[in-house]
Every structure is written in C-alpha cells, then in structure tokens.
C-alpha cells in the first residue's frame, strides 16, 4: 500500500491487521518428546479444541506456518534441524517453547547431549513451563501470543527491528519474558 514500503503504518490499521493475524494462526507442531502428547491433546482433541482460538494445527510445511510450538527435549543433534525449519518459516513468525526441556533443558540439565533451552538457537516468544504442561497451559500460551501479536508494531517489524509494542507500558515491559502463569490475561 505504499505505506509498507516506507515502513510506516497508521496505528488503527495496524490494530485491524493484527487482530486478523492473531485469529488466523497456523501452527507448526514440533513434537520432540512426551510434551508432544499434551500438545496433541490440545491441538487435535475436541476436549480442548484449539480451533476455537483461531489456530489451525494443520500446515503441510513450515513454509505455511505462522508460529511453531517446540514441545520436548531438543538435543544437540536435533538443534540444527530445529533452526533450519525455523528459518524456512515466513515472516512474521513466532515460537512457543513448551515444557521444561525446551525452556531450559529440564531434567536433562546436566546431560552431555541436550540443548539447554531452545532459546539458544531460535528466539522464543512465549514460554510454557511444566513437565509436561497441561493442554490448558499451552492454550494460555497461545492466548498470550495472540495478545503479543495484537500489540505488535508491524511497521517496526518491516523496518527490520525486533519485536516492538504499539503501546509501551511498564506492565508489558516487566512481563518479559512472557511465561504462562506469570501474570494475568487481559
């Protein structure tokens, strides 16, 4: 629209687009260990029904995905594949790290072969703690991600900057990093 080329966007238009984006998320499932069972319960079962949040868990490849849920133990051997698949995703892209292993290594904190957190190789937007987290926790992580998307300054993204909030409030900045269970949902 011309505005994009100049890296500027009116805030109301940004909010409209952000709302559209946040309710049509395609999630790429990266199940690596037992957390994938809980992710499967959250994404594929009618009991939790992730589609009511506007999330479609069925992209055929990372090239169609808006965000990825890394659920499970990332090993040093798997880490290059995680990074490569993340790089194949189109911008804008987001990462939810699910479970203690993906967050920090979890029970394998002293292992010779486990990456101590997927945030060492890709930027993580939302952390979902738990071993494994319940499906509700993952759903809360998705809701937090939607809030993050709604409050994102897309013009800054197009200018190549890091994640920038539309409204910078002390509460939002204090909430970094965003962890499920770390604060109230609006």
């Amino acid at each position: 629209m011309g505005l994009v080329d100049r890296g500027r966007m009116p805030a109301p238009l940004t909010k409209l687009f952000n709302m559209g984006r946040s309710y049509s998320l395609w999630v790429y499932q990266w199940g690596l260990a037992c957390c994938a069972i809980e992710m499967g319960a959250a994404f594929a079962s009618p009991r939790y029904d992730v589609m009511r949040l506007g999330v479609i868990p069925l992209p055929a490849s990372p090239r169609q995905a808006d965000f990825v849920v890394v659920s499970g133990t990332v090993t040093d051997k798997m880490a290059p594949a995680v990074k490569r698949l993340y790089e194949q995703m189109p911008e804008p892209k987001y990462v939810i790290s699910m479970g203690s292993c993906a967050n920090c290594g979890g029970p394998y904190w002293d292992s010779y072969s486990v990456t101590k957190g997927v945030d060492q190789i890709v930027p993580v937007d939302i952390y979902v703690p738990g071993c494994p987290p319940r499906p509700e926790a993952l759903l809360e992580g998705i809701v937090l991600l939607q809030q993050r998307i709604k409050n994102e300054d897309m013009a800054a993204k197009w200018r190549g900057e890091e994640y920038t909030s539309l409204q910078k409030t002390a509460a939002l900045e204090a909430a970094e990093p965003i962890v499920v269970g770390g604060g109230p949902i609006e």
Binding site: T75, D76, K77, W109, D110, S111, Y112, S113
Partner: protein, 235 residues
C-alpha cells in the same frame, strides 16, 4: 526361580534336573569355542551368562546363529569402573567419602574395565543367552554384522559411547551424538560439567512435606462429606 546374587548359587549344583536346555547350549558352545569359552553362569530355569575371550567374539556370534539364536536383542558395553566423581546425587554438604576404585565385574566374572556384552534369543526354543567378553587394551573387537545384521547400529552406538572400535564394521559414524562431539559419554570418567559447576539441585527439598495433623473429628466430617457425594451421584 530367580536368585538375587551369584554367591547364593555357587555352592549349589549349577543346573537342576530339567534345565538340560541351557546346559546343552553351554555344551555346544564349548564344542565350537573350546578354551575360548572362559566362564559361564547358569541360573537354572532362568537365564544363562557366557563369557568368551575377545578373540572368539566373532566365532561366538557365528556359533550362536547356527544354533538357532536368530533374534538379536542388543549389543552394548559396560564400564565397570566406579565413577571417580562419586555419586552425583549425594548430599553436597556431607563429608565426601573415600572414592571406591575397586572394579567388580558381574556374572561370569571378568578381568578388564570394559566388557562387551550382547544378548540373543532363540524364539523357537524360547531361550536367551547373554554373551560377554573382556575388551582388550586395543579397544577393538570383531564385528558381529556378518552374523547379525542388526548389530550394525548397536556397534555404532557402542563405538561413540564407549570408544570401542569394531573390526569389519563398514560405517562407524556417530549415531546419536553430533559429528564433532569429543569424548565418550558413557565412560565413567566422562565429566558432566554441569554437575561439577552446580550440585544436583534435586537433593534439596524446596517445599517441606505436607503435614497430616488433622483432628479426629475433621476426619469424621470428611467421611460424612464423602458419603454425601456418593448419595449425590446416586441421585
């Protein structure tokens, strides 16, 4: 009948009547291997351990396959040396005890720190046997791939985890570890750097155990609530 330790069975006959099956396996192995069959440990009606010399490792595989042991369960190794770093889950505040350096091999004995072991099963006769061999200082053993194709990845794993080479293996690349990994993680003297920097956090109970000091009448009230719920379910 399962004996808990080999000391209980030493004074007893090694096979009760009726375990001619496993005795027969030992006999036919001895016929093939001769003096290369070093030691056996037989728990009647239960299981059989056989220790062979390293030179006869490949011949043992051939002999077992010919006897009908067609199912290859696994192949791996043991480092019998006690960890020089002690037990990582001991209380870090406690006085460190003298490290145990004595090497004790398990069933059927042994003479070296590393032992290779494998298990094969005869699904027809429904019997399995565990084969062990002392790994010589050259840290190289013959490969079993010629007799058991399934040994391929097991030998790769044993190679990367223990540093034991296999003569005749076509492709000893790392299986689990990244290609540039240095060291052999399943050796007891492989240092876990994280544990050296920080003692095991699980030794400390972050929260005290919940206390159960409810008065007796509250317990009674709890039972009453339970029966109310049961009534509610029934209605």
């Amino acid at each position: 009948m399962v004996r808990l330790s080999d000391t209980e069975t030493q004074d007893e006959p090694q096979a009760l009547p009726g375990d001619g099956l496993r005795e027969g396996i030992v006999d036919s192995l001895r016929a093939d291997l001769g003096e290369h069959l070093v030691d056996t440990h037989l728990v009647p009606q239960d299981d059989l351990w056989v220790r062979v010399s390293a030179d006869a490792w490949a011949l043992t595989g051939q002999s077992l396959k010919a006897q009908g042991f067609e199912y290859f369960c696994f192949l791996s190794a043991i480092d019998w040396m006690p960890s020089p770093y002690g037990k990582g889950e001991d209380d870090p505040d406690a006085e460190p005890s003298e490290p145990d350096t004595e090497i004790r091999q398990g069933y059927a004995g042994g003479e070296t720190r590393f032992q290779l072991f494998a298990r094969v099963t005869d699904v027809g006769r429904h019997v399995g046997v565990t084969i062990k061999a002392d790994v010589p200082d050259s840290m190289t053993m013959p490969s079993w791939i010629a007799h058991y194709a399934g040994a391929n990845w097991h030998e790769r794993e044993t190679h990367e985890m223990f540093g034991i080479g296999f003569d005749g293996h076509p492709d000893l690349r790392n299986l689990y570890l990244p290609g540039e990994f240095e060291g052999f993680p399943l050796r007891k003297d492989f240092p876990l750097l994280s544990r050296m920097v920080k003692p095991w956090p699980g030794i400390v109970d972050v929260e005290p155990m919940p206390e159960f000091d409810e008065p007796a009448d509250e317990v009674g009230a709890g039972e009453g609530r339970g029966s109310d719920e049961a009534d509610g379910d029934a209605s």
